[in-house]
Symmetry: C2
Subunit: 316 residues, 2 copies
């Protein structure tokens, strides 16, 4: 069992409860008192999910944001969160709490409880957060995409990944560098969008590890083929200015992680409702592909089929 | 902010939602669809909460058990759990999953989801687990103890702490050593007891950090005085055989952690119901003290008042 993949396979053997959704989804779903409770738990580890030099308030923000994104992607309204705090030094912890308070308020996820733990000397910081959401409607899964559906993505792709590249020196510092690094450090998904779109979608998930890997996961979970048009993938002005928008830049964007955008599949007859719902919230959505019978992910650039890159996204 | 205490004080300023119970309880409580949802999150860190040499299956067992204990102490029936797994080596992880599957089945806490994370080289293992429970009855808190109440504890106290002392060489290996170390490594609270006792109690919590520190927490949260009779505290035959049962041994037992017994306060007129409820489940309960108007914890041995030891329990 040398990879995360193998471990998750083994965990699937344990998590046989229907609420676990075969560990194939962003969140667990259980029914209680006629409502659906949506639950997710994400952990951020220093040097793996954030940089040791990241401002502590941003680390706390990100911890809340990534979980809020999962709740929204399941069409649920936020209920609250619990988290585990690895005690560090005073100043760092205090700044972290400032960011936590700000993020809990911003994402409407009141802090309900958790645990504080002392770590052995020299251990990396790590923080786990469980977020809860509720909905009385059906909870979209990754596995509902149907042949004929249109594939959509919200927001812009690749900004956070490019921000990380700037921070780690893999991309040159640019005029837009600060905006991009903020996208990496303080992702700000609009969590009203998921619940608003949920009635119109066949499948929905958040893009957290990279558009291509998450698109492949949706295709696999839904047992369909998904085709994505690289040239339609939305890029921000800052991304274009810094990295351009040729195919290489687009592949970089589509395989970077930490977007926290929504990826959805919906019947073409819901196109108008999806556009109008997103416009009402001032959240851009873009049609980037199609679902068909078959299996796996394919990529086009204009009319030209493109080989999938070896690495489709971030595995952690 | 140099201590866990100071951090929790700061967190209380953030966790103002009523469901957080002022971070003074074992668990958070939110209402959904006319039911109460009880939520807890506990983290175990290698070299802090478990020993590097502990069998991985026991670490997983303990992770589930400590959270199941919190759910039971709030009178709730288990619903499920999510956890975060720090990837290690194959063999260790595989054995851990065996223990996890066993514990989830034993404590009736189906695995619903979670996260797997890669850790930087050399980082200690750490695992966070969120458990959920439900009840349609009132959820006992730590803060409901009333003057005139009797104080009870379930099970026996100090076994786990003595087991840890055997493992770390602080106590001599004894005939009962293996039974005691198993109490440390694989705590087995009977989680039927909490929901069964809940209707009869004024306050209830689990004893996780030491009977004295947890008794003091109940006194503080309830704004009452609690008096405990050291000579009435129940000790197992294995404990007595290994450590004796004089006052020193009893103080050792009452300040050790990891008991996962229930501590409750109840009106004296519920004495019969408490005894009968516990007897029906074959779980021993013992009256060990009283609640009165005032503040703080006091200790007696027979008729003799005893000074509280400097360290009342385990803080982590």
């Amino acid at each position: 069992m040398t990879t995360e993949f193998a471990l998750i396979e083994a965990l699937r053997g344990i998590a046989r409860s229907p609420g676990a959704r075969g560990l194939m989804d962003d969140a667990a779903v259980i029914e209680i008192g006629g409502e659906k409770l949506v639950l997710t738990l994400d952990t951020l580890v220093e040097s793996v999910h954030f940089l040791p030099g990241d401002p502590p308030a941003s680390v706390a923000w990100k911890l809340v944001a990534v979980n809020a994104s999962d709740i929204s992607a399941k069409g649920a309204e936020p209920l609250g969160c619990l988290y585990s705090h690895a005690l560090g030094d005073d100043e760092w912890d205090s700044a972290f709490l400032d960011g936590l308070a700000e993020a809990c308020a911003h994402f409407n996820l009141p802090l309900l409880g958790g645990d504080t733990v002392r770590m052995p000397e020299g251990a990396p910081r790590s923080f786990s957060l469980t977020a809860l959401g509720r909905t009385s409607s059906a909870v979209p899964s990754r596995s509902g995409a149907q042949p004929g559906d249109r594939v959509w993505v919200s927001g812009t792709i690749g900004d956070s990944g490019l921000g990380l590249a700037v921070l780690t020196g893999r991309a040159a510092e640019a005029e837009a560098g600060e905006w991009l690094t903020e996208r990496y450090r303080r992702p700000s998904p609009d969590t009203r969008l998921g619940p608003a779109l949920a009635p119109w979608v066949s499948a929905m998930m958040d893009v957290s590890d990279g558009l291509l890997i998450d698109g492949q996961r949706m295709a696999d979970a839904s047992a369909v083929a998904i085709s994505i048009a690289a040239d339609l993938v939305p890029l921000s002005a800052a991304f274009r200015k810094t990295a351009g928008d040729d195919l290489d830049a687009r592949l970089e964007a589509m395989t970077a992680g930490d977007d926290y955008c929504l990826l959805l599949a919906a019947p073409p007859e819901h196109t108008m409702q999806i556009r109008e719902t997103a416009a009402a919230l001032d959240c851009p959505v873009t049609a980037i592909g199609t679902v068909s019978a078959g299996a796996g992910l394919t990529l086009f650039h204009g009319d030209r089929p493109i080989s999938l890159p070896e690495r489709l996204g971030y595995r952690h």
